[in-house]
């Protein structure tokens, strides 16, 4: 349930608000709904991972993957080890880590916040 709510609320919110809105959303819903710290983390991280990967996949296929290739070329000129990695999976992975960690940690913090009042 936490997973679904975070997914829907943050999808709507990110259309209007900056990307970091996923942090307060995950915090609030983590505080409201989660029963364990791990559960809070997993639901929020999973929700944002699903949402970001899903939306990015849509955008990427609409663009036939040109943008991510260009960005990949740009980054790998500066960060050499990226040169040996396939661009698209690498960039999806980096994106997933960023989104899911921010959401997951925020939801965990939300859960612990709630515990203060129990």
């Amino acid at each position: 349930m936490t997973y679904i709510i975070i997914l829907i609320v943050s999808a709507v919110a990110q259309y209007f608000l900056p990307w970091w809105v996923i942090a307060p959303i995950a915090f609030a819903i983590g505080a409201w709904k989660s029963e364990t710290a791990l559960g809070a983390y997993a639901a929020a991280a999973g929700a944002i991972a699903t949402l970001w990967v899903g939306y990015a996949t849509f955008l990427n296929s609409a663009n036939e993957g040109i943008m991510v290739q260009k960005i990949g070329g740009l980054f790998s000129e500066n960060i050499k080890f990226l040169k040996n990695l396939p661009v698209t999976p690498t960039f999806f992975t980096i994106m997933t880590i960023i989104g899911s960690q921010v959401a997951g940690l925020s939801a965990t913090a939300g859960y612990h916040f709630r515990q203060l009042f129990k």
Binding site: Q14, Y15, P18, W19, W20, A23, F27, A37, W52, Y55, A56, L59, N60, A62, N63, E64, I66, M67, V68, Q69, K70, I71, G72, G73, L74, S76, E77, N78, F91, I94, M95, I98, G99, Q101, V102, L105, S106, T108, A109, Y111, H112, F113, Q115, L116
Partner: protein, 820 residues
């Protein structure tokens, strides 16, 4: 315990979010950049990416219709001029905003604000050259012309209408990557864009290199090796053309024509020299030479090739004009193009319009300098630099004399552009505050005949251009045009004496006395950046123009051409014949084959069989180009070192060198002065340089083979991203050409727009393309879609519409813009 857990988890979450939301050094805010809702994923484009079919904008006065064709070129149909320029600004911003702003940041010396420390020296140089200052004055002065002011403001309003509705997620991806936001546009910024062109095309000087040569070898040698007119010229205005005017008096040549360089004077260097690659071709054939009986005009301006491209195609139609052509992102109107009745194009005039004066200061405060037997006060201005990543701004003091700014004033300065002498003032035409250049294009866009063309040219200041013209009344013409200083002979060939009033620029060549020719007997006009006119022209324009080879080739082919068609002119634009090889290769080969062992060398055999064309797959071109470079280095670098830190000079021209090889084979310059007790002859240096060329090519490419030694592999044309973002350019474009070739494609420069227009009593037929695409978005299919066709030398037929309702299978979308 609960509290500790909360605080730790909160810190982790907040800390990570915060860290990902702010730039770290050169790395932009990663959270925002990677978020699919805002970041680079949003910049992916699938198809044409047109504006919504019904667009409401604050600022248009009436309904505007924009038709997009299959190459994503907008055709703007407006009911008044204001709306046309407004829409032009809006659409250019939509496609090229980042690029437009980048030019203005470069010209105004503000790149360090967005990219940090590494642009600081370049910025300092731009500020000291005073381009931002000049741009302000140009606009202040120009806005007294009501039309000029209205056009610039309408354009700026259009750009701003686009900027205003931009959200982060729609920003051009370069802003996201580098991490900054676009600023408001203004007429001043359009002028800055034009300043950028003045700098690219007129911002070079050989003065102190020449002064160094003069102080080492004396006037006799300099006159001999650096003549004021080449032996093989084919000037723009055909030899024998009458000058139909009474010349104004030219200032007398003073007794002392140069500053005296003291031995302690440090001359730090590398001002871009006059760069022949940044040349261009244009020509028009008259009706008697064309298949249709009416003129055909061609133009291909050569510039450094970048993505996004320097050009943007557009059609603008209002009750006062219907014009199509190539526009500069950041500037209103069409710069190179055509309308129903006329076509025009430009190439650069290589006249000497940047001079340096040696300045004697009273003391270290630099408050006064010696001029006309008295101390004269300098003016002072403080430039402030905001540098990304630096907590406080930096300041730089710039002193100016009546000549112009002191570009560098102390030997300890870190000179970005090292070709500028220390303690020397710059006199530069780009500082002229009459800057109604855009009005020349405004009137050309509306021109109906030759007289309109002549009138339009009077508005043009700098950078001086060879304006070629053709009309459907069967007139053709060419005019090297712009504001040109009235100089005594050789004025500014060397560093001048800033205290001597006779060394000042003392006036201008009257604009109606700029060289011009209309309907010459030979039936065509042309230019390739060579000398504007032969020495019968009563004014001195400069001593070094682009080498003549392109001009010679263009003129000899046009001379022979009968029943010319669009295709014959297109093929001339792609001509790869090497005029220099025709002239000198047989001579050099004869020297080589005096030694029979050389003739067995496979490189020799390849050259002997070479068709003298710099075609993409030719190995002969690779060897010849390398050899000529090596030979010039071998002959001259010992006496005229280009890269010497203390006193750099410049080599005599290739033309001068070939004259020497043929007519003065025993000249002392062939000897290498750094080998003691050995006297090298012409034969020695020809052989040495040939061997050195083959050795270095072999070392780099492996043993000679048709694949790896092919000219296009070695020349390797790259079209890099304007901001040098790796991965955003296109490398190793397969094509032929070269610096002295009509198809002037080199490593980084080349034909930045190719156009051929066939005039017609009814409706013209036009063809053109540029190596890029209409969209500035690297993820758009229209970012670089014209490059492959360009490399093959093909052209697109341009859709020149009569009205917005014209039917065409090439129309791919329409947009109606109305008042909000």
């Amino acid at each position: 315990m609960k509290l500790v857990k909360f605080i730790i988890s909160l810190l982790a979450a907040a800390g990570l979010t915060y860290a990902l939301n702010r730039p770290l050094g050169p790395v932009p805010a990663l959270g925002r950049l990677f978020s699919p809702f805002e970041g680079f994923w949003q910049n992916g484009e699938s198809k044409l990416d047109l504006p919504p079919t019904d667009l409401q904008l604050d600022g248009v006065q009436d309904e505007v219709n924009v038709v997009f064709d299959d190459n994503r070129v907008p055709h703007v149909f407006a009911k008044n001029d204001h709306d046309a320029y407004f829409t032009q600004g809006y659409l250019m911003a939509r496609d090229r905003l980042w690029q437009m702003e980048f030019y203005t940041l470069a010209a105004s010396g503000r790149l360090a604000e967005v990219v940090g420390e590494r642009a600081l020296e370049l910025d300092r140089y731009s500020r000291r050259m005073g381009m931002a200052d000049a741009a302000k004055k140009v606009y202040e002065n120009g806005k007294t012309n009501k039309i000029f002011d209205e056009v610039l403001n309408a354009y700026a309003a259009g750009v701003n209408a686009y900027i205003k509705q931009l959200k982060y997620k729609n920003l051009p991806v370069e802003y996201k990557i580098i991490g900054y936001q676009p600023e408001e546009w203004s007429p001043y910024k359009t002028i800055l864009m034009m300043m950028n062109m003045r700098n690219v095309l007129n911002g070079g000087s050989d003065d102190f290199r020449m002064s160094n040569a003069l102080s080492k070898y004396g006037m006799e040698v300099v006159k001999d090796l650096f003549p004021n007119y080449p032996s093989n010229e084919s000037p723009i205005i055909p030899v024998g053309t009458k000058w139909n005017f009474t010349p104004v008096p030219v200032p007398a040549v003073p007794a002392q024509t140069t500053a005296t360089l003291s031995t302690s004077e440090t001359v730090a260097f590398d001002v871009p020299q006059h760069s022949p690659e940044i040349g261009s071709n244009n020509w028009a054939v008259g009706g008697e030479k064309s298949a249709t009986g009416l003129p055909i005009l061609a133009n291909d301006p050569h510039l450094q090739l970048t993505l996004p491209s320097i050009w943007y195609q557009m059609q603008l139609c209002t009750p006062t004009m219907n014009v199509y052509g190539a526009c500069l992102p950041g500037a209103p109107g069409v710069v190179i193009g055509f309308n129903k009745d006329v076509a025009w194009g430009v190439t650069n005039v290589g006249s000497d319009v940047m001079d340096f004066y040696q300045i004697k200061f009273k003391d270290n405060t630099k408050k006064e300098y010696w001029y006309n037997d008295a101390w004269k006060p300098t003016s002072m201005r403080i430039e402030e630099f905001v540098v990304k990543g630096r907590p406080e701004s930096l300041k730089d003091t710039v002193y100016s004399t009546h000549h112009g700014p002191i570009v560098y004033n102390a030997a300890s300065d870190k000179n970005f552009n090292q070709n500028v002498p220390v303690g020397h003032a710059m006199r530069w035409v780009a500082h002229e505050k009459e800057g109604t250049d855009l009005m020349a294009f405004y009137y050309l866009n509306r021109a109906k005949n030759y007289d309109d063309y002549r009138k339009a040219l009077t508005y043009y200041v700098a950078p001086a251009q060879n304006f070629v013209f053709a009309s459907n009344q069967n007139d053709i013409s060419i005019t090297p045009n712009g504001k040109l200083p009235l100089k005594w002979k050789e004025q500014g060939k060397f560093i001048m004496d800033g205290s001597n009033p006779a060394h000042d620029w003392q006036g201008w060549i009257p604009v109606d006395q700029n060289p011009t020719v209309k309907n010459p007997p030979r039936g065509f006009v042309s230019s390739a950046n060579q000398f504007s006119a032969d020495p019968t022209y009563p004014y001195y324009l400069g001593w070094r123009f682009a080498p003549s080879e392109r001009a010679i080739r263009i003129n000899e082919r046009l001379e022979r051409m009968q029943k010319a068609t669009v295709d014959s002119l297109r093929m001339l634009q792609n001509d790869n014949f090497n005029v220099e090889a025709r002239r000198i290769l047989p001579v050099l080969m004869k020297i080589l084959n005096a030694d029979s062992s050389e003739t067995k060398n496979p490189a020799y055999q390849t050259l002997a069989k070479w068709n003298m064309k710099n075609d993409a797959n030719e190995v002969g071109a690779t060897i010849f180009e390398r050899w000529v470079k090596e030979l010039r280095y071998t002959v001259f670098d010992d006496e005229f070192p280009m890269k010497d830190l203390k006193a750099p000079m410049t080599y005599p021209s290739r033309n001068r060198m070939w004259d020497m090889v043929v007519k003065e084979p025993t000249a002392k310059w062939f000897d290498n002065v750094s080998t003691k007790n050995k006297q090298e002859t012409l034969q020695d240096v020809v052989k040495q340089s040939f061997k050195a060329s083959i050795d270095s090519l072999t070392q780099k490419l492996g043993p000679m083979n048709a694949e790896t030694w092919a000219w296009n592999k070695v020349k390797s044309t790259d079209i890099n991203h304007l901001g040098r973002l790796p991965g955003f350019g296109r490398q190793d474009i397969p094509n032929g050409g070269g610096a002295g070739i009509v198809n002037a494609t080199t490593e980084l420069n080349g034909p930045s727009w190719r156009m051929v227009v066939q005039l017609d009593k009814g409706w013209p037929k036009a063809y053109g393309l540029y190596p890029g695409g209409q969209s500035g978005n690297p993820a758009s299919p229209f970012y670089d879609n014209m490059i492959d066709k360009w490399a093959k030398g093909e052209l697109n037929e341009l859709l020149f519409m009569k009205s917005k309702d014209e039917k065409s299978s090439r129309i791919s979308g329409t947009v109606k813009i109305s008042k909000k």
